[in-house]
């Protein structure tokens, strides 16, 4: 077996040193009754060439965004991942290391994550970021947990324009966290600050999304103000790619900013692994979940980095920990750092601008009625179809175009609504093709 190095003579010497005559004897402490007597019922071993062929066949059964002109978004986006990201993430010293518990021989990852935390704070206008959460959904539950402990309140308010899966994850965590979840309906595709203000009464936090699930720009500053007014923590779920053109949540009164990092440095990869980011104002630092890297010095006064504020964490505080997370998404967050460093402030702004003009162009070209007229969009917008979105999608895919996400999957009475997403990888010509195909299939 290509992974194992022991030769027969190695085994003999080792068994002798241990003082047993056969490997089986090493398992003598396992009670007879629970020993597994047969061979595992698994398919025969595949050699490396066969393995590659087998998985190429499986991969070949998928229609990915290189095979189909796709306008799917709804939380995961086909943004361009530069080659430098692959190059860095394949460095074995990063790829095959684990959590930097021992800082002296882990300065590479530690410094990188410190740089990542800085980038997330710059994007969001926050004071502190953790080293990553599992994804853009679980960080929302984490944030609500922080809010509960910070405010002593248990009600959490979720905007209905917040990604449905995010809301579903919060609801799943709620019983254990002791949270009461309230949702605020949207009005014409956005949340009305006044309505939110009412719902926020006695709430620990309010979570809204900017740009929201329909790709529309909420009046985020007013939503944050409404929450603050009620003494609830405003938590913004943001698209990192938008933060070159959209104001940082930290600059309009939010207590925390969270989001899905995928669009900034990770492949779509059928939803993972990706990283969720979580950042807050300084007041909440000791309640944050997960790893946090801090700067310090060594014996000689030289600068170095270490895991810090570990008294928040499960391995030190156990049942009193702020979270149970240990293995996180460091490698993907590193991908995020590399991507954001590749983009720089200039590039990030350009991507945002390009997405916005492409979306505007697409609205025009597609020429279908907007589900929510007269609202500003970022890179995504919803249109009403003449029939069910599922039918239109099926028909369009026959022409090699995936036109978008069927909103009816998550929202009552919106079976005829299609959510169309663009990224900088979609050219005006691609959009013309989309428009053409949608017309073709009489969408």
């Amino acid at each position: 077996m290509s992974q194992l190095s022991l030769t027969d003579s190695d085994r003999e010497e080792m068994l002798a040193a241990i003082g047993v005559s056969a490997v089986d004897e090493l398992f003598q402490d396992i009670p007879e009754g629970v020993r597994f007597r047969r061979d595992l019922d698994l398919e025969p071993a595949l050699s490396e060439p066969e393995l590659v062929r087998h998985l190429e066949e499986l991969a070949g059964k998928n229609v990915d965004t290189t095979k189909e002109l796709s306008f799917l978004g709804a939380g995961i986006y086909d943004h361009y991942v530069p080659a430098v990201v692959d190059a860095v993430l394949q460095r074995g010293e990063f790829l095959t290391a684990y959590t930097p518990y021992q800082p002296e021989l882990s300065q590479g990852v530690l410094q990188a994550i410190f740089e990542y935390q800085t980038a997330i704070c710059e994007l969001t206008g926050m004071d502190v970021s953790n080293a990553s959460g599992y994804d853009g959904m679980t960080v929302a539950a984490d944030a609500c947990y922080v809010a509960k402990h910070s405010t002593g309140r248990s009600k959490v308010v979720l905007a209905e324009t917040l990604n449905p899966q995010v809301r579903q994850v919060v609801k799943t965590y709620a019983p254990g966290f002791g949270l009461e979840v309230v949702e605020v309906a949207h009005e014409g595709g956005t949340i009305d600050p006044a309505t939110l203000r009412e719902a926020a009464e006695d709430a620990a936090c309010v979570v809204f999304q900017q740009p929201n699930f329909f790709g529309i720009l909420e009046n985020a500053p007013e939503l944050a103000a409404a929450a603050n007014d009620a003494g609830a923590m405003p938590i913004a779920h943001v698209d990192p790619v938008s933060l070159g053109v959209l104001e940082a949540p930290g600059n309009y009164g939010c207590a925390m900013a969270i989001g899905e990092g995928q669009g900034a440095g990770n492949y779509q990869s059928y939803a993972g692994p990706h990283y969720g980011f979580l950042a807050s104002k300084a007041d909440y630092v000791r309640r944050l979940p997960g790893r946090i890297i801090g700067e310090t010095t060594d014996l000689n006064g030289d600068r170095g980095y270490v895991l810090t504020l570990q008294t928040r964490e499960q391995h030190i505080r156990r049942e009193k920990a702020t979270s149970n997370i240990t293995t996180n998404q460091t490698l993907l967050a590193l991908g995020g750092l590399v991507q954001l460093s590749w983009l720089g402030p200039q590039g990030l702004r350009e991507v945002g601008e390009t997405c916005m003009s492409l979306a505007a162009y697409a609205k025009e070209q597609v020429g279908l009625p907007l589900a929510f007229p007269a609202k500003p969009n970022f890179k995504e917008f919803a249109v009403r179809l003449s029939r069910s979105a599922r039918e239109v999608i099926a028909a369009a895919r026959e022409h090699g175009v995936h036109p978008g996400y069927p909103v009816g999957r998550d929202y009552e009475g919106m079976d005829d609504v299609l959510l169309i997403a663009v990224t900088e990888k979609r050219s005006p010509a691609d959009i013309d093709r989309l428009a053409h195909v949608l017309a073709e299939v009489r969408a």
Binding site: M1, Q3, S5, D10, E25, I30, V34, D39, L51, L55, A59, G60, N62, T65, K67, G75, P82, F94, Y98, T99, Q102, P103, E104, S106, Q111, A112, F114, A119, E122, T138, T172, P175, Y270, A271, P273, V285, I292, G294, E295, T296, D298, G301, G304, Q314, I316, E319, N324, T327, N328, Q329, L340, W342, G344, P345, G347, L348, E350, E353, T354, A360
Partner: protein, 499 residues
């Protein structure tokens, strides 16, 4: 080494992006970004150099021996990195129609079948993102199950071992349960008397790692299971140590009802400096209705996502879990086939060999054959020479080894938790033995060598206390503090490092 922000200069950039000739779409004044984020500004050449240099200041399995106990730092086969980069996988959108994702669904379905066979249980959900989330999900399943049978309020307590990993109690709290701890007996098994005294009608279940974090297989696991099942409670298996028993003893056969599997440990997902991981859970049939949605099911020769699970706890993560991790772990297992048992056999053989060689120089709290890992104690070194487990760990760096997990499990003072994994050749084990024995000698003869270690790394011992006190958690640009001024010492918590 400078931070990337310290290498940044306005106007530089590594990115080139498409610019289409379209009218600009304006952001409403009040939503527009006022000040651009101060992201790094470097051209590609320095970007590549920065991360290349950072990587050379990091120790991975590719660098050398990494016996970090409980973390199963085995070699990560390179072919898996090739497979995960196939466009059909890496560029697949998770909202793709099922008809356009048959390969992904089939792969996940196949992985579920494999994990069920390995765990000896009936249903699987791949959704949890890591072991700790698997734990939390498992506890959610218990709650849902007991509520379903009307014992929801009654059963409010989860029992864990005092050797348990910190995630277990933390998960208990997050799941809204009360925690009760059970002691370990002289042979390192659960203390059955203590256990019996604590299990009752309020007990929702047990969380146990078996083999335990001591690397010992619980010799009374059958009685343990009976005690809980007789009380109407459930057993949760923390699969962190599954690498010891694949094809040798199955959690389901041991009596566990819920199992999480750390794909990044047993099934070789690279640890990536802290993640990603995967924490699928496998459960007994009675718990299947409560598993997260969507379920991945087979329909004749097609595969689909089933959202129609009325009793489901809901979702613990987006979509269907970290797919890339599944690709690697599936490929890893297919490369072994039924010989997977050999993986565990060699893991256990390597561990026992190290144990046999090292027990002469370090204390052995539980004198038994170990499974895939074992725990030594530096307590005598500390008493006699003032050399702690932390010091031994630091000195190992000078010998070119990553330290083992230290100060865990908590029941062992000055613990050194050593897990070689099956992928290490005998030469590496022998080299490590030499280093460990040399360090024990140095502790007696030249303690400063050990106390002042490491000397071989880009930095000497770092001051964790100062880091926590100053809490400098991001770069401050022009206002960035200079910590080198203030006095600092090598103050490091003699607390769990690893696992």
């Amino acid at each position: 080494m400078d931070l990337i922000y310290e290498k940044s200069k306005p106007g530089r950039r590594a990115s080139t992006l498409p610019r289409y000739d379209l009218p600009a779409a304006e952001v409403p004044e009040d939503l527009r970004r006022a000040e651009p984020p101060r992201l790094p500004e470097l051209a590609e050449p320095e970007l590549v150099r920065h991360f290349t240099e950072l990587s050379t200041r990091n120790f991975g399995i590719d660098t050398g021996f990494y016996p970090l106990g409980s973390c199963t730092m085995k070699h990560n086969p390179r072919v898996n990195e090739r497979l995960v980069m196939l466009p059909g996988f890496k560029d697949l959108h998770p909202h793709q129609e099922e008809s356009g994702a048959q390969g992904a669904l089939e792969l996940m379905w196949r992985l579920q079948e494999i994990l069920k066979e390995v765990a000896g249980l009936h249903a699987c959900s791949l959704q949890p993102a890591a072991g700790s989330q698997g734990e939390l999900t498992g506890l959610m399943l218990m709650r849902a199950y007991f509520e379903d049978i009307g014992e929801g309020d009654q059963r409010d307590t989860i029992i864990t071992a005092d050797t348990a990993h910190g995630t277990n109690p933390a998960s208990v709290t997050m799941a809204g349960y009360n925690l009760q701890k059970v002691a370990t007996d002289a042979r390192g098994n659960l203390d059955l008397d203590d256990l019996r005294s604590k299990v009752n009608e309020r007990t929702a279940g047990l969380m146990l790692t078996n083999p335990s974090t001591l690397g010992l297989f619980d010799e009374h696991i059958e009685e343990v299971a009976t005690i809980f099942h007789d009380a109407g409670s459930l057993l949760y298996y923390d699969g962190a140590n599954l690498n010891a028993v694949c094809g040798i003893s199955r959690p389901g056969d041991m009596g566990f009802d819920i199992v999480h599997i750390n794909l990044h440990k047993t099934f070789a997902q690279p640890h990536g400096g802290g993640g990603p991981g995967g924490g699928p859970i496998v459960v007994r049939d009675i718990l299947e209705p409560f598993l997260p949605v969507p379920a991945i099911v087979q329909d004749g020769d097609r595969f689909r996502l089933d959202h129609d699970r009325p009793k489901s706890i809901g979702k613990v993560r987006g979509f269907t879990g970290p797919f890339g991790v599944f690709v690697r772990s599936y490929a890893y297992i297919r490369a072994y086939g039924p010989a997977l048992r050999e993986m565990s056999e060699v893991a256990v053989l390597n561990a026992n060999y190290l144990l046999a060689k090292l027990r002469v120089a370090y204390d052995l709290p539980y004198d038994r054959l170990c499974m895939h890992e074992f725990v030594l104690s530096a307590r005598s070194l500390k008493r006699e020479h003032g050399v702690t487990a932390l010091d031994v760990a630091k000195r190992l760096m000078d010998y070119g080894y990553h330290p083992p997990t230290i100060y865990f499990p908590l029941v062992v003072p000055e613990a050194l938790m050593i897990e070689p994994t099956e992928t290490e050749p005998k030469e590496r084990l022998d080299g490590f033995v030499e280093a460990m024995l040399a360090i024990a000698r140095e502790a007696a003869e030249e303690p400063r060598l050990v106390l002042d270690a490491p000397r071989s790394q880009p930095v000497s011992r770092l001051d964790e206390v100062k880091a926590a006190k100053r809490a400098v958690l991001k770069y401050g640009f022009e206002d960035h503090p200079d910590l080198s001024g203030e006095v600092g010492e090598a103050r490091q918590l003699e607390a769990q490092k690893g696992a």
